[in-house]
């Protein structure tokens, strides 16, 4: 029974390996150590953001303002850095700011009871507008602490950004699997009516999730700034929603909430990174990547549909047996 439940996570791993082999055949350069390190770096940001979106999706919601929140927090990082504030304080302030932005979205969704799509659609524009106001010209990151974060390697092999991603994924997995808060998130997404009856404050749980997801966006913003150094709000995160949605769906999360695990999201993010990197190396026009992302979203929805209808049919059969 258990193996059946886990199959969701291994499907993206399989597709990742297949893609990997395919690209290795097309361009031998692809499987080189340098390129693999590159993929490790590239996966970090979308991976962390994917986990952040996954948390929202787990509660049955959606957030399409993650990209613009990222750009706002990046601008904030650049702004604070340019004031020569120590790294630790910058880090803390960005995370707190992320949490506050997330919490505010949560308040609009749960207290004023607005649909999450509209809240985040409006937030997307509002936040991007604010970010653009503050970044008239580009911020350049120069502090050594941040630069080493972006380009550092553990034991000369593993890129630090990848380590950060792994750490974020591990911590989130532990919180989801092992703490009361985590179980509440699954409960709210799985059956919110029953969650109310079980005495769970659904609104508060959702607000906390939005805040938590905001903190993760903060982590991603710090990494982004240290990886790319040149921060211009208009260049950051404009098409992130689609990629993240593909990551989450590939990772086996159910859009209606309550199902999916962090491990699946990790594999989903890796698949997208391999796809992206491979397409560029194979000198295909990267325009195809956008189109493929959309097609992947639709395909994963299709797979979910087929799975759920298969489960449904099985259930019906089971009922009759009784």
């Amino acid at each position: 029974m258990k193996s059946g439940r886990r199959s969701h996570e291994w499907a993206p791993l399989l597709s990742m390996i297949l893609l990997f082999l395919l690209f290795t055949l097309i361009t031998p350069r692809f499987a080189g150590l340098g390129n693999i390190k590159m993929i490790g770096k590239q996966v970090a940001i979308n991976g962390i953001l994917g986990v952040s979106l996954f948390l929202i999706v787990l509660t049955g919601g959606i957030d399409i303002s993650i990209g613009s929140t990222l750009s706002l927090l990046c601008v904030l990082t650049g702004f604070l850095e340019s004031k020569k504030i120590p790294f630790a304080i910058v880090f803390l302030q960005v995370l707190i700011c992320g949490a506050v932005v997330g919490y505010l979205k949560g308040v609009l969704v749960t207290k004023i009871k607005l649909p999450d799509l509209i809240v985040t659609l409006a937030a997307k524009n509002l936040i991007r507008g604010i970010a653009l106001m503050f970044s008239v010209q580009a911020y350049i990151i120069t502090s050594p602490a941040m630069l080493s974060l972006g380009s550092g390697q553990l034991a000369g092999v593993i890129p630090v950004p990848f380590l950060c991603f792994a750490a974020v994924a591990a911590i989130t997995a532990v919180i989801l699997g092992k703490t009361r808060f985590g179980r509440r998130i699954y409960a709210v997404g799985g059956n919110s009516e029953a969650a109310v009856q079980a005495g769970i404050d659904v609104g508060r749980t959702k607000r906390s999730v939005y805040a938590f997801s905001g903190i993760l966006i903060g982590v991603a913003a710090i990494l982004y700034s240290s990886l790319y150094q040149n921060i211009l709000a208009s260049k950051i995160g404009s098409d992130t929603v689609n990629t993240l949605l593909a990551v989450v769906l590939l990772g086996g999360a159910s859009m209606s909430g309550g199902r999916g695990r962090v491990l699946g999201i990790v594999f989903g993010a890796l698949t997208m990174a391999v796809l992206n990197n491979g397409m560029i190396l194979a000198r295909s026009t990267d325009y195809w990547v956008t189109a493929l992302t959309g097609i992947l979203i639709l395909l994963s929805m299709l797979v979910q549909f087929l799975q759920s209808s298969a489960v449904f049919r099985k259930k019906l059969g089971g009922e009759k047996d009784r």
């Binding site: 029974m1 092992k178 009361r180 808060f181 799985g190 029953a194 969650a195 009856q197 769970i200 309550g258």
Partner: protein, 523 residues
């Protein structure tokens, strides 16, 4: 802080007369309606207290006030001698009151252990980590004490209804509940498992746990309860000891009148078959065949989960039949979807009025003309003036009480809402009217009006009416013939005249006709 899993309050300590719960002078008003009027509930330590009342009498409101889901307008609650006001289910649960809901609240995506101990702070260990091992052990322990064998690692979605129920009870037990409220706990349970469930309740009760048992099945009330509180229109009519009174007396108190005086239907002359259903199969019912005559009220009686709902919805085309067909006036209906059924003159008043019956944010006029407005036109456009006249006609004929035809339906009372749904269908002059629990949640006055309407319709319009109901008096008082459904099959079709309520109940709960032994429960 660790709490040991103990059974609370051994029986025998103190006397039976000691009250664990006293609710006094509880009032509750919702916008536009008074639901509770000086209602109360006194429960002694260690007893099983039944709570009965018609739909809308205020049972669930009273219990929701007790557990903190609703706030009361006025009144006091004493639990274990202390005055309490709970702000949430969490608080009342912490204090030892567990609520088992009619719809089982199992999380399909979680294990049995997690379902039992969800969100319990006792299992949060170092660094906020949940102590899974200890939780699983305790879950096993609780289930063991209950004498239930369920693997604690199974997922909620894999459990049968009975197992889900056991998990719900385990949940209540694990909270060290001293008072368990059971709201229609057998609603989803197959008939043969009810007795097992009762043994279980008795076992709990022997351990000193007090139980409030809500049900509309008098058989069960009589079998399991010590005393019964009877509610009517938001007030307590009487509190009786079960051994000292008959079911009839209880029902009369609950309904507040002699039953027969308000069912007006008199048998009609049936001429010719209107609707023929042959070897009809679908989700949750099989091999259903019957004929509905012109000007006949045919009752379908079955307990919850017996397949009456699915049969009705399949007849109306909402669900797809797996086999079998329907003939209307001798002509087979080929395409079974709702639009085609409506075109053929079959109308359906659904069970869940709020969800399926009317559109709450649209006006009385829009709701009534929703089906029939297309039949009156000027060229390609709908003739709204004509439709308004028709709407007015039905509002008057059914005496719908609304400020105007432009009033939103959600501002009307339950009875008037139901009349709007009826008007919607009557305006297209249907041949067959399927009514699914048409008087549920409807006040007494409107109930009588609806019964009058049913009688008038079959007599003047030659309509055939299928009346689906789980209220035996309604079926006995309003139909010409009655089909009894049990586990998805029609187990008997009888003439209503002279039919006794006991026989109806016995058949509906799977009893055999020949069985003549006198069972105490079925009186």
């Amino acid at each position: 802080m660790r709490r040991r899993l103990d059974w609370p309050g051994k029986k025998g300590e103190g006397t039976l007369a000691e009250y664990i719960l006293q609710m006094k002078d509880i009032d509750k008003t919702f916008p536009g309606a008074t639901v509770l009027n000086h209602a109360g509930l006194d429960v002694r330590q260690g007893e099983i207290m039944g709570l009965i009342g018609e739909n809308g009498a205020g049972k669930s409101t009273l219990l929701k006030i007790l557990t903190g889901l609703y706030t009361r307008t006025s009144g006091t609650i004493l639990f274990k001698g202390r005055e309490v006001t709970y702000a949430s289910i969490e608080e009342s649960a912490d204090d030892g009151i567990a609520f088992m809901h009619q719809e089982l609240n199992i999380f399909p995506n979680m294990t049995v252990t997690e379902n039992i101990f969800l969100d319990r702070k006792d299992y949060v260990g170092k660094f906020g980590m949940i102590q899974k091992k200890r939780m699983e052990e305790d879950a096993r322990k609780v289930l063991e004490t209950l004498g239930v064998e369920i693997d604690v690692n199974r997922m909620g979605s894999e459990l049968s209804i009975h197992e889900q129920q056991m998990v719900e009870i385990a949940k209540a037990m694990s909270m060290n509940a001293e008072l368990i409220i059971m709201d229609e706990p057998t609603a989803a349970l197959p008939e043969n498992e009810v007795e097992i469930f009762f043994q279980f309740i008795r076992k709990l009760n022997r351990r000193g746990i007090t139980i409030i048992y809500v049900s509309h099945k008098m058989v069960e009330i009589e079998a399991i309860c010590d005393r019964v509180t009877i509610l009517r229109n938001g007030t307590v009519v009487d509190v009786v000891n079960v051994g000292e009174t008959t079911v009839e007396q209880m029902v009369n108190k609950m309904v507040g009148r002699q039953l027969d005086e308000y069912y007006v239907h008199t048998p009609t002359k049936n001429d010719g078959v209107l609707l023929r259903v042959s070897d009809f199969n679908g989700e949750n019912f099989e091999q259903v065949s019957f004929e509905l005559m012109k000007s006949e009220v045919l009752g379908i009686y079955g307990l919850a989960g017996s397949g009456t709902l699915e049969l009705a919805e399949t007849l109306f085309g909402y669900r797809k039949p797996t086999r079998g067909g329907v003939t209307l006036n001798g002509q087979a209906i080929k395409k079974t979807d709702i639009p085609n059924m409506v075109k053929n003159g079959i109308a359906y008043v659904p069970l869940n009025r709020k969800k399926d019956g009317f559109v709450r944010d649209m006006s009385v006029f829009e709701n009534i003309s929703m089906v029939g407005c297309g039949s009156y036109r000027k060229g390609i456009f709908v003739d709204w003036a004509k439709n308004r006249d028709i709407c007015d006609k039905y509002m008057e004929a059914l005496s719908i009480k609304a400020v105007s035809r432009d009033t939103h339906v959600n501002l009307l009372s339950g009875g008037n809402q139901q009349k709007v749904v009826l008007s919607k269908w009557l305006s297209i002059h249907p041949k067959v009217l399927i009514l699914n629990e048409p008087t549920r949640g409807v006040d007494v006055g409107a109930k009588a009006e609806i019964y009058n309407l049913i009688d008038r319709l079959v007599k003047t319009e030659e309509l055939g009416i299928l009346l689906i109901s789980s209220e035996a008096p309604e079926v006995l008082g309003m139909t010409d013939r009655v089909m009894i459904m049990h586990k998805g099959r029609i187990c008997a079709t009888l003439k209503t005249e002279g039919l006794q309520q006991e026989r109806l109940l016995k058949l509906a709960s799977g009893g055999k006709e020949e069985q003549s032994e006198e069972r105490q429960e079925i009186t």
